[in-house]
Each structure stands twice: as C-alpha cells, then as structure tokens.
C-alpha cells in the first residue's frame, strides 16, 4: 500500500472546483469521449453532474468527466493525465470524457504549463491524489448510506461493493451523497501491479475531433462580435516602428482600425521565473483590425512603415565570428574540472579534437502564433494556445493594470509548441490591441510574421577533446561550448564522473536577436555532438561504440570521479543494453550502415540505433530502434508516438533546417525558403521499446529527439565515410544528399 498525504482538505478543493467547473472554455466545452463517437459506451448522457474535486465530475448515470490540467501541445497529456486520475478513481476508461481544464492552479494543485517534459513528472502525485480522493469520497458516501465502515467496502470499475454482502452501488448513483464529504489526511494509492489503465495503449481522446476538422485550436476560436487583427513587426532585429501610413490603411476595405501598440511595461515586480511573456525583441508593433484575414493580409501589403534603428544589425558571418571568438574568450557561466586535463592531454598517446556548429533555427509550429483577447475596463478574457498560461495571466495583469482575479486565461489545443509557446508575448499583443480597439479581437500571425519574429533556437559552437593513453584508455575529456547567448554544455552530465581528467565549460556571448527554449533546449545539440564525438573516440580506441560507453558507465558507477554527477549510470547503461539486444547490434548486414547514440535529459533515458542504406547516393534511414527508460509508461500509444516524432524532428533539424541573417533580417520567412523534413525523408520504420520498472514517470516530449542527432551522424559516417560536424548536415554534402522536395 502507498499512502499519500492529501495537500488540502476536501472543502477547499470543492470551493475552487466550482470556479474551475463554471468557467469552462466557451465554445470549446463539447465533451471529448475517450472512445470514438461511433462506439457505444453503454451509458446515457447524465442529467445531473456532481463535482467531487477540481479534476472530477461524476454524472448521475456513471459517466465521469475528468479535467486535464495542463496545456496540450501534441505531447498527448490530455489523454495521459486523465488516465492517471481514472486509474486511482477506478473507473472504466470507456466511461470517461475529458475536458481541458481552465487555468486554476489552486484547484488543480498542480503547475499548469507545458514545458521541460514535466507535466506527468510534476503532476504524478496531484493526479493520483485527485483520483484516489474522489474514490474515497464515494466509498465514504456508500458506507454512510449502508451504515457500514469504509473498510467493509471495495470499489472497482465505477462500482462499490460490500466485501461480505450483496449490496452494490454505482458511482453515478452515490455521487450526489459524496458531495460535501471530507477526505482523510492520508489516502491509499494503488500499487503499480494493480494498474488497469496506466501502462495500456489508449487512443488520443481528441482523435475523432481532429480527423473530422472540429474547432479545437486557437486559430479556430470565434466569438460573436469579435474582430480579427494582424501585426507588422520590424523587418530586422535592431529596429523599431516609428510611424506608418495609418490613414491609407484605415481607409482600406474591411479595415476597422489601425494603430501602433507598445507592450513594454515595468517588469520589476514580475516573478523572474515566470517572465516568459516578456521575451520578445519587438515590443512595439503596427496593429491592423478588421473583418477578415484576407483583407488584413492585403492591408499589411499596403503598409508603408517608417522604422528607426536602435542597435547594430547582425548577420550570419558576424554570428560565426562572434561564436569563434567567444569560444575562446567568452564569460564562463558554469564549469566543472576533475583532475588535471591539460597535463593528461600532454601525456596522451592520441588526442582527438573536433569542433561542431549549428545555426539559428525557428520553431515553426504549424499553427502560427495567435490569441483571442477581450479587454474591458476592469476585466480581461484571454483564450488561445500558450504553454505558460499562468505567466501570461501575470504579465497581462501587470501590463494592463488589472488585478489577476479579473483575468481569465483559457487554453485551446495547440498546433505544436516545441518551446515557442512558452513565450506568450502574442497574448499580451492581443490584449493591447483589444484594449486600443475597444473590441474583442483574435490576433493572427501570418507564417511570415511567425518565422521572422524571433525567439529562435540559438546558434552554437562547441569544441570536444579526448586523450587516449597507449593502451587506448580514455584518460582525458574536455567540452566547451558557446551559444548566442549561452553555451550548450551541461558540466555535470555524462561523461562527468567517468573520466579521471575532465573539464566542461559553458560560455556566454550575446546577440540582439531574441532566442529561447527549443524542444530539448541545448540538449538536442549537445547530444548530437557528444555522441558523435564519443563514436569517433571509440573508433580511435579500436572499441565497439556501445562497449566503449558501457565501460564509461561502469567507471562512473563503481569508481566515480569528482563530485556528484546528475545521471543514473545503471539506467543509462540499461537503455544501451536494451537497444543493443533489440537491434541485434554487432550483426553485419551488407548495405546497412549503423550508428548508435544514447542521451539523458529531462529525467528520461533514450538510446537509439539507426540503420541507413544508400539509395543512388542518397541516405535513407531504413529503421530506427529506440530504447526508453521514463519510469512507468502511462500511455504506451502516446509514448511511442511522441518518441517516433522526436526521432523524425531530430533528423529533420539536423539534416535540413537553418535560418540565416542578413542586415539583421532572417533570410527565410516561409516554407519555400526554410526546409522542414518531409514524408520521403522520414525513416521507413521506428520501433520503440521501454525499460520496465516502477519508477515514477518522467516525460517524453523532449528526450526522444536529442539522441537521434548523434545516431544519425554516426550512421551517416558509416554510410559515407565522412564525419558530419556542422548542421545542417545536408548543406555539408548537398550533392550527395540530393534534397528535392516533391
């Protein structure tokens, strides 16, 4: 038995749940059934619903509504988080409908954001507690009704039974009596061996709405009386809007208003850890309000804006030079030094040193930035796709001078996040436009606005160096890296602890281009270069690349060097051993070129083996094997899907994507000049295996991507005989990789 402390008594839960239940997504509150609509669930639609707590409403027919607390960006938490609640509540999944919860962290007892692959990890206790508390309330109600003890009863699949009697009652029948019952301070949770829902394959709860084109996304949101709005930001970083041909624009068909907005405000009392919404190089913008998107797009084309220069415009050559200089002279942000690396390199029989680079990249969520705002004199309604709704609420409150209690933020499904929607400036812009126009508006970014706005994945430059002694033992290892503005080095990650003489230095630089978190921030680059470098070092040592890594993990585990390191060597080795077994590593198949990589980030471990075949000089990823340790896997279906997506995303951005700058302006502004991976470039097959254990679950939104970059580079080396040090790999060998898009 696992006991968990309830964080609150039931009454406080009930109080806040009323607000959460009452303010649901207007226009979006249609129930999402957990089974496809065409399957009978055997329960009538309830005429009455009873709130048990912020997460659970039970209908009088036994149908259960579970509110999913966190934003859904495609990581599938809208299915997996309610699965955890349903498990502990002990109801049949077919009897559950899921709704997106509103922003109400007091009600959910859980931070409501999507980032850092943290939703399940941070929500694990709150979700189980909500389900278990709900079950306990129903049991208490039945016990009272029958004048027996709670211990005389058991509950499963939405039914309560007397252990030594014949009486049974459904959750729906007893729910009205459960309202108002307090839960004990400690409640019992299930053991993993008793799970019936967790660990199974469950389909996306919004699948049938997605495939039939129902309104789900921010861009689909509509409110009566709402106007549309678009913005124009400066064409280059280092510029600001001065004025524009406002009268001409206002006279255009379908344009109802035009003005400039400024989203600058005093950030001094904004919680710095929640200041996501203020990351944005373009605080003052031209805004055009009107009736239809096409009319606004035409008005944007007719804009004549005067800009003024505020900082020096940057370009790609300047960035390359700055990274080169600051890799030598940049300010040290973090470092670790074990042993004497310089002396060890001096005494080494072989020294290998390699430098790796990667350019700026855009997030390119397929749904461009957008947000609905209705700003009234002392109240604000915000609806849209944002990964950090709480941060947006706080920033909107400060910017508008309206108390947080008078602001609501509702989350729509998001057409991708990848870190881009952590930065909710577009919500503030929508609010500023609604306020200035005096009407509810939905702000829409064009693709070009979106791709040229900033908040990019920073460019990086890192140098790795390894020393082998005469017996090919790894005696020294150093990594140093710089980025705009910060280096992609994690000093306490692998191989910290595994090498006698080890140095890792994270260096700083600067840029006037706004950068931000991009799916597995820094890790996706670091994993690629570190794992490609280790492959090269293993080869120089004459060792099998998996054996070479396993020896390092043995060292880190049995005889660790220096202070604590931040990975579990057994779990790291575990995924490598699992992928070795599943891929039959070591088997030599003519025409198949194999590469391996493993990485730990965001609390999960992933190892991958890539098989590449060459087809008329073009590399084809034939198959990818993935071994994953994320603790308990809540939803196997969603978990496999997101790992597969991570692999494809990793390949795509390592191979094809880059954003260059000229005179402060991004050179690409749409998908005709910025390449994303396409169907024909994806692997033919991706198989995913999980390490089975009972460790509390950790997230998968990010960890599947980073090792793909390294495994790809290593398999490409086997296929082409060349090492790839610079992203995108395709430009390193354009002839060979013949990159036509059909």
């Amino acid at each position: 038995m696992t006991l968990i402390k309830t964080h609150h008594n039931r009454r406080s839960f009930l109080k806040v749940s009323a607000a959460a239940g009452g303010g649901m997504m207007i226009g979006f509150s249609f129930l999402t059934r957990c089974t496809p609509a065409n399957e009978k669930i055997g329960l009538a639609v309830p005429s009455e619903w009873f709130d048990l707590n912020g997460y659970i409403k039970i209908g009088n027919t036994g149908l259960v509504t579970i509110f999913s607390p966190n934003p859904e960006i495609g990581q599938n938490v809208m299915t997996s988080m309610p699965m955890v609640v349903a498990e502990e509540l002990d109801v049949k999944w077919e009897h559950v409908v899921v709704e997106q919860g509103s922003l109400d962290e007091d009600a959910f007892k859980n931070p409501q954001f999507a980032g850092g692959s943290l939703s399940l990890k941070l929500g694990w206790d709150a979700l189980r507690m909500a389900g278990a508390a709900g079950k306990r309330m129903l049991l208490e109600a039945a016990a009272k009704e029958w004048s027996v003890g709670v211990g005389d009863l058991e509950a499963a699949d939405g039914m309560i039974k007397e252990k030594n009697g014949d009486r049974t009652v459904g959750y729906g029948e007893i729910a009205s009596k459960a309202v108002g019952i307090e839960v004990p301070e400690e409640i019992e949770l299930k053991e993993p061996k008793d799970y019936k829902i967790i660990g199974t394959f469950k389909k996306n709860v919004e699948g049938s709405k997605i495939v039939s084109g129902k309104p789900l996304f921010g861009l689909d949101f509509k409110r009566d009386g709402m106007k549309l709005a678009m913005i124009e930001h400066p064409p280059a970083f280092g510029m600001k809007v001065k004025d524009f041909n406002v009268d001409e624009i206002k006279a255009m068909d379908g344009v109802t208003d035009a003005f400039t907005i400024d989203t600058t405000f005093d950030e001094s009392d904004l919680d710095p850890s929640w200041s996501w919404s203020t990351v944005n190089a373009f605080k003052n913008l031209v805004a055009i309000v009107g009736n239809s998107t096409w009319q606004l797009m035409k008005a944007k084309k007719a804009l004549k804006v005067n800009y003024e220069s505020i900082t020096e415009p940057e370009d790609s050559d300047m960035h390359a030079k700055r990274l080169e200089d600051d890799l030598q002279n940049g300010a040290v942000i973090q470092e670790r030094r074990d042993g004497d690396t310089d002396a060890a390199f001096a005494s080494a029989a072989k020294v290998i040193e390699r430098t790796y680079t990667s350019p700026f990249m855009a997030h390119n969520t397929l749904e461009p930035m957008n947000f609905f705002a209705d700003v009234k004199e002392n109240s604000v309604e915000l609806v849209g796709p944002v990964q950090t709704p709480k941060a947006l609420e706080d920033a909107a409150s400060k910017m508008l001078g309206i108390p947080v209690e008078n602001i609501t933020v509702d989350m729509t499904r998001m057409g991708g996040g990848f870190g881009r929607r952590l930065y909710g400036h577009f919500g503030l812009e929508a609010a500023a436009i609604s306020k200035a126009a005096g009407v509810p508006i939905k702000l829409i970014y064009s693709r070009e606005d979106d791709m040229t706005q900033g908040t990019y994945r920073p460019p990086y430059r890192s140098t790795y160096k390894a020393g082998l002694d005469t017996n090919n033992n790894l005696i020294a290892f150093s990594a140093k890296g710089v980025g705009l503005p910060q280096g992609p080095v994690f000093p306490n990650r692998f191989p910290a602890g595994a090498v006698d003489n080890y140095t890792a230095v994270k260096l700083g630089s600067n840029t006037n281009i706004s950068t931000g978190a991009w799916r597995a921030p820094d890790s996706h680059f670091t994993a690629g270069v570190e794992q490609a470098f280790i492959d090269e070092v293993a080869e120089a040592a004459g060792k099998d690349p998996i054996e070479f890594r396993l020896e390092m993990f043995e060292r880190a585990k049995n005889n660790p060097v220096g202070e604590e390191y931040d990975y579990d060597a057994d779990r790291y080795a575990g995924v490598l051993k699992l992928v070795r077994e599943k891929s039959e590593w070591g088997k030599d198949t003519p025409g198949i070129h194999r590469g391996v990589a493993a990485y730990y980030c965001h609390s999960s471990y992933v190892a991958q083996v890539f098989d590449i075949v060459m087809d008329d000089g073009r590399p084809i990823v034939q198959k990818v094997w993935c071994a994953v340790d994320c603790g308990i896997v809540v939803n196997k279906e969603g978990a496999i899907n997101i790992i597969q997506g991570g692999v494809i995303d990793g390949i795509g951005h390592a191979m094809y994507s880059e954003l260059k700058f000229k005179n402060g302006a991004p050179v690409s502004n749409n998908f005709n000049t910025y390449q994303l991976i396409r169907h024909s470039q994806a692997p033919k097959e991706i198989e995913v295996f999980f390490v089975e254990n009972e460790i509390a679950p950790t997230g998968l939104g990010e960890p599947g991507l980073p090792p793909a970059v390294g495994a790809l580079a290593n398999a490409l080396y086997k296929a082409t005989g060349k090492r790839y040090y610079h992203n995108p790999f395709s430009t390193a060998d354009q002839q060979q990789f013949n990159l036509e898009v059909g």
């Binding site: 065409n38 991976i677 396409r678």
Partner: protein, 154 residues
C-alpha cells in the same frame, strides 16, 4: 466585393467577398468551416488541402472566383460521421500528435486513394511530400494510408 455561389460538401453557399479571396479564408472566416487549416499561405505545407471536383487542391491558392461552378469538399464533408476509411484508419493507428496538419494530410490521402487504390510506399511518399507534419507523424500517416487502402478493398 462580389457575390459568389459555391457548392461545398453538397450544399449551396453564397458569400460576398473580394474575388481574389482564397477559398481557405472564405471557408474559415465567412463560412465558419475551420477544419481547413492555415499553415503557410504559399502552397508549401498542405494544411489547407481541400478537394476541388475530387482532386486535392491547396485552398490558400484557390481564389473564390475560380471555385464557382465546381464541387468543393472539405474535411467537414469528407464523410457524414467522420467514418471515411482514411479517417477511420487515422483513428486506428492513432496518428495525430498536435493534430493541426491532419485535416490536410487526410484530404490529400483520400484524394490519393481515390486515384490509386493501392499505392506503393514510394507513391505514398511522393503524393504526400507536400504535406508537412511538424510533429513528425510521417511513419504513422504512411501506415494509416496502407490500412485505409486495405480496408477499402476488402
């Protein structure tokens, strides 16, 4: 502004818009049919794919004036109950992650199967290459198209 008579999902609709307005925005802004998605506006992502007289078409490139007199099908009208073989296969294989590109993928896949009921892997890749999935569900999309092809033939 001018009046246009359109036939969408078997129903007659009348809109009053500028003749150069792309069907994408007519559907989304004027007819509240938001299943057809905006991704790029330059025919490079496929999120806005509809059927024009049965052929896949990027609605961001189709002015309303060119759509008159033709039969338009959108994701909302692909089937009455969301049970077109391609939609069913999408659910079976649990294709979507964020889901934003999937109406366009489904419309393009349905048009592909209409003209080629049993496409090879290469034919699927070639036909679907214009539809970007930023989440990377490509392997599942291909699997779902094969399932839909098999189910349509049995």
């Amino acid at each position: 502004m001018a009046q246009f008579n359109l036939k969408i999902n078997g129903e007659n609709k009348q809109v009053d818009v500028a003749p150069d307005t792309p069907m994408l925005w007519v559907l989304r802004d004027d007819l509240d049919m938001v299943g057809t998605k905006y991704g790029c506006g330059v025919a490079m992502c496929g999120a806005c794919t509809i059927h024009l007289d049965g052929n896949a078409m990027r609605s961001c490139q189709l002015p309303v004036s060119a759509a008159e007199g033709k039969s338009i099908t959108t994701i909302e009208g692909l089937s009455a109950n969301g049970d077109h073989p391609v939609q069913k296969a999408w659910l079976d294989i649990d294709v979507p992650q964020c889901g934003y590109c999937q109406s366009g993928q489904i419309m393009n896949a349905a048009a592909l199967l209409q003209r080629n009921s049993n496409p090879t892997d290469e034919e699927i890749e070639s036909a679907m290459n214009g539809n970007i999935c930023r989440c990377g569900t490509y392997t599942r999309i291909k699997e779902a198209i094969k399932v839909a092809a098999a189910n349509s033939q049995s």
